[in-house]
């Protein structure tokens, strides 16, 4: 199987990576770049734990081939905070108590950040719909939604 050399910007840093055709963006992030904050929960585009921003839009990174990302810009959970300053969605998720086991958290944060980027003042229904592709088994979602609401109130520092 042929390898493809791609150039990709991840969390602001340019990377050159050789990837096989069947490698997903998720596998590349975790295995080639050791960015393990992005989680593998189903490998089928259903659970949302692997959600990252690709060219500013959220995608399930298990449903994107790494080779398709040549020239793309990707932001993972590791890229949400800047200079030790947490993103408001990170701060408010903590504040609201929306973190338990933490495995869905990276995906929840990315989906929430993407929502606030496209819609800085979402309604509660809009928040819930934006998170429908991020399964959480611990929290019952209520505190997560609360955190995103608060983050919207605090205002955005876009990723």
């Amino acid at each position: 199987m042929a390898y493809h050399r791609i150039t990709i910007t991840v969390n602001g840093s340019d990377e050159v990576v050789d990837v096989p055709s069947n490698m997903t963006l998720l596998q590349m992030l975790r295995e080639k770049l050791s960015l393990t904050g992005t989680k593998n929960g189903c490998a089928a585009g259903e659970c949302g734990a692997c959600t990252v921003l690709m060219n500013g839009e959220p995608v399930n990174s298990c449903m994107v081939l790494a080779v398709e990302c040549d020239g793309a810009s990707v932001v993972t959970v590791e890229g949400l905070s800047h200079d030790s300053q947490l993103d408001p969605v990170q701060e408010q998720l903590i504040e609201a108590g929306g973190v338990q086991c933490g495995f869905c958290t990276p995906g929840i944060l990315i989906s929430s950040r993407a929502l606030l980027n496209r819609n800085p003042k979402p309604s509660e229904d809009e928040i819930r719909e934006a998170l429908v592709g991020n399964l959480c088994r611990c929290t019952g979602y209520i505190r997560i939604v609360e955190g995103v609401k608060k983050a919207a109130e605090v205002g955005s520092r876009a990723a």
């Binding site: 393990t36 904050g37 593998n40 089928a44 338990q100 509660e124 429908v132 209520i142």
Partner: protein
């Protein structure tokens, strides 16, 4: 030298306070390490498992030669390599199947290769010849003499003395209660309800699938990294099965991405260990796919419960009979104790003078049953509490009044003969009823909607061996901070935070000074039985409190000696030792490691401070095999109540939860916010299992082993808010009076919803999942809709 006195400044309390989670910063930045995140470098081998396509068959021949010949394959193992059985309570399972397979998905062989892809290909090259046997797919049939035997060797299996297998049958445990005489009182009952319930198999669905990595070094010592609720139990069980000593296995357990019981005991973790023993020192990783997570791991057992319950004309319960057939699956190594728990709590939280319970764990050719959040209890309460709702209606009582009349209270002699400790269950009922304005349903939001209210109550005791123990150490650092060693896991419930609170308060240091020594590592961490049964706050909390008090005593004795004061006059507040007598004070910094110089350089007192603590309940007694009677069956019960108001769309059968209230008597909420988080999360997990979830098993094949067709609640499905209510009736042997709450909140939800559905539409939909389809078709068949 003693610094200026800080007397008079009040230390801010940390018990009963919403302290922030100690793990949340790591978890929101992606830096928290889970097992799959650990880097092992290029030597890492990847394992895949050859699985049985048969529900029940004899293995005639396994040919691994083609797999072994595939370039990149380093190890191939089969059951022939590992002859000893494994199991938590009943040792009835092999790491890899040997002579026979008993469920679809059972591990038959394992491969390790340089990539997951090659291992996957190699698995396809393994050829297995089977001779199919008649399967058992129904627990009630499985208990009958006609059923084919799934474990003909049951008589030979190692089993603890509180589990009662019936050799020559598929009954792996038969737990009985005989209290009073039910048959003598049915005639005296003014109302009787008799009903048969079925609760389907469901899955835990942690977002992190099971993953484990194992490595054996040149000296034969093994290290296992696993997403685990039970590092110590895994060490013990795997060592026994592989014929090695416990201390030659080291289990390192990083953060767990959701457990809910499925990462307790040993499921898949033994396989990478077994493979690693033949991998020449290379680490071996086994990571289950989501699909394997669904049907090859522990499941929540299915249950068939036949319940008969009767009361007098005033609604007071007279008799209860509960016959339970648990679908234990291909192995019941953990399930036998689930059915025991289902048995001794088989009356539900009701005071009943005459009780007959038969709780039978039946081998079937379904996936293996294991612990799931409050094991046995959601299933038992589904039937019992609905029966109480039916009985209340039959006798003409309001369900809330009925529950308050009959619920268990302090001093009652419960079904096992144990005297009940004081509980706030009645207060829980009152509070949830008030919260949803019981009896005053809101107006439906549209003409095609119907509203209903339902209430349910619950109890649950930690289900564990009588002597499950905890231990802890508390070590002080030069900067005055405190490192707490524990062997219980952080699986999302907040145990690390609560332990930090207990240590901070017990020792007298600021909460921010406490560090939890993680990840749990059996080489350094103190022993903990398992992170299960909602037992950590209570049991490990006692150990941590003991260790912190021990450290505190060492510090105070040291300072008392240095200052020539009486220890009773000294205290530690906010990280400073103070004397109420001399009004001297000294910071913990430095002295807790280097000690204190005596005046005039006449030597030193003290030394590095390390406190130790442990806890083990010593008072749990056995129960008689035939009657289930004994002094004290369990350590305690946590009780609670739930009330729900729903709206049903009569065009589709869809349920909307309009109001939800959930109250639990937790003894003492050490961190009320975390307690409420458990109450909310548990409610939603309960609601999800009630409405959506079912492993659809057809001839032993799971039809929906993925998120496409095994649906769980999403952010859009859950109620806007849940009124999470804390009731506090102190637990006599709990730290600060605390008892567990992790599992309980999901237990009453199926029954509460089912009762609300009946209240809304006037027809009972009793067996979960209480899906829109079932509700609609029930309305159709009853003529409520056309």
């Amino acid at each position: 030298m003693p610094s200026t006195s800080t007397l008079g400044e009040k230390t801010k309390g940390v018990i009963g306070v919403d302290m922030p989670r100690v793990d949340c910063h790591e978890k929101v930045t992606g830096s928290a390490i889970y097992t799959d995140d650990i880097q092992f470098g290029n030597q890492l081998l990847h394992a895949r498992i050859k699985r049985s396509p048969h529900a029940h068959a004899l293995i005639k021949k396994i040919d691994t030669s083609k797999a072994e010949a595939l370039p990149g394959v380093k190890v191939v193992v089969t059951g022939a390599d590992f002859p000893k059985r494994i199991g938590l309570y009943l040792k009835d399972k092999y790491i890899f199947a040997r002579d026979r397979v008993r469920f679809i998905g059972e591990a038959v062989a394992g491969v390790a290769a340089v990539s997951e892809e090659i291992a996957d290909k190699a698995v396809d090259l393994i050829e297995v010849e089977y001779e199919p046997l008649d399967p058992v797919f129904d627990a009630e049939f499985g208990a009958s003499p006609e059923a084919p035997l799934i474990h003909p060797d049951l008589a030979d299996y190692e089993v603890p003395n509180f589990i009662f297998p019936v050799p020559g049958t598929n009954i792996a445990n038969h737990f009985k209660i005989r209290k009073g005489d039910v048959d003598a009182v049915w005639d005296q009952c003014a109302a009787i309800v008799e009903y048969k319930f079925r609760v389907p198999h469901v899955q835990h669905v942690p977002i992190e699938p099971h993953v484990a990595v194992a490595k054996m070094d040149e000296t034969g010592k093994i290290t296992l990294w696993a997403s685990s609720q039970s590092p110590f139990a895994q060490r013990n069980l795997i060592a026994k099965s592989l014929g090695i000593s416990e201390s030659d296995i080291r289990v390192i357990a990083p953060y767990v991405g959701g457990g809910f019981g499925c990462k307790a005991g040993v499921t898949m973790e033994a396989m990478p260990v077994a493979i690693a023993m033949k991998a020449q020192g290379r680490p071996v990783k086994l990571r289950l796919t989501r699909e394997e997570e669904f049907y090859t791991n522990f499941v929540r057992q299915g249950l068939i419960a036949k319940i008969k319950v009767g009361c007098d004309k005033d609604g007071k319960l007279l008799a209860l009979q509960n016959t339970m057939y648990w679908d234990g699956g291909a192995s019941t190594e953990y399930g036998v104790n689930i059915t025991r728990a289902g048995g001794y709590s088989g009356t539900g939280p009701y005071d009943v003078p005459n009780v007959k319970v038969d709780s039978m764990c039946i081998y079937t050719n379904h996936p293996i049953g294991g612990a799931y959040r409050g094991f046995g209890m959601s299933e038992v309460h589904t039937g019992i509490v609905q029966c109480m709702d039916m009985l209340a209606e039959k006798i003409g009582m309001d369900p809330v009044a009925f529950h308050k009349l009959n619920c268990v209270e302090g001093g009652d002699i419960i079904a096992t003969g144990m005297k009940m400790h004081s509980v706030g269950l009645r207060e829980c009922i009152d509070k949830v009823a008030k919260s949803i304005d019981w009896g005053n349903k809101g107006k439906p939001s549209a003409p095609n909607k119907k509203r209903g209210q339902g209430v349910a109550i619950m109890w649950k005791a930690p289900a564990m061996p009588p002597n499950a123990g905890s231990s802890a150490w508390v070590e002080l650092n030069e900067d005055g901070t405190v490192t707490v060693g524990i062997g219980g896991q952080e699986i999302g419930q907040g145990s690390f935070t609560v332990m930090a609170q207990i240590a901070a308060d017990s020792l007298g240091v600021p909460f921010e000074w406490v560090r939890i020594a993680g990840p749990v590592d059996t080489q350094y961490s103190p022993y903990e039985w398992q992170t299960v049964a909602s037992r950590l706050t209570w049991s490990m909390g006692n150990a941590v409190r003991g260790a912190a008090l021990d450290a505190r005593k060492q510090i105070i004795d040291m300072v008392a000696q240095a200052w020539n004061e009486n220890p009773e006059d000294l205290d530690i507040k906010d990280g400073t030792v103070i004397s109420y007598k001399s009004e001297e004070s000294i910071s913990l910094k430095d002295i807790v490691v280097y000690g204190i110089p005596k005046p005039g350089f006449e030597g030193w007192v003290g030394g590095p401070i390390v406190g130790r603590g442990n806890f083990m309940p010593t008072y749990v007694t056995g129960l008689d095999k035939e009657t289930g009677q004994g002094q004290r069956a369990v350590v305690h019960y946590t009780t609670g109540a739930q009330a729900i108001e729903i709206e049903i769309d009569t065009d589709t059968g869809k349920i909307d939860i309009v109001k939800a209230a959930s109250a639990f008597d937790v003894g003492k909420a050490i961190n009320p916010s975390l307690v409420k988080a458990q109450i909310e999360g548990g409610f939603v997990q309960g609601m999800s299992s009630a409405i959506f979830e079912e492993m659809k098993l057809v001839e032993g094949v799971m039809q929906n082993p993925n998120f496409v067709d095994y649906r769980i609640a999403t952010a859009v499905d859950v109620p806007r808010s849940i009124d999470a209510i804390i009731v506090e009736t102190a637990q006599d042997d709990g730290p600060y009076g605390a008892r567990g709450i992790g599992e309980h909140p999901m237990v009453p939800t199926i029954a509460a919803l089912a009762n609300a559905i009946y209240n809304a539409i006037g027809v009972r939909v009793t067996n979960p999942p209480l899906s829109a389809e079932k509700i609609y078709l029930a309305m159709l068949d009853a003529g409520i809709v056309k």
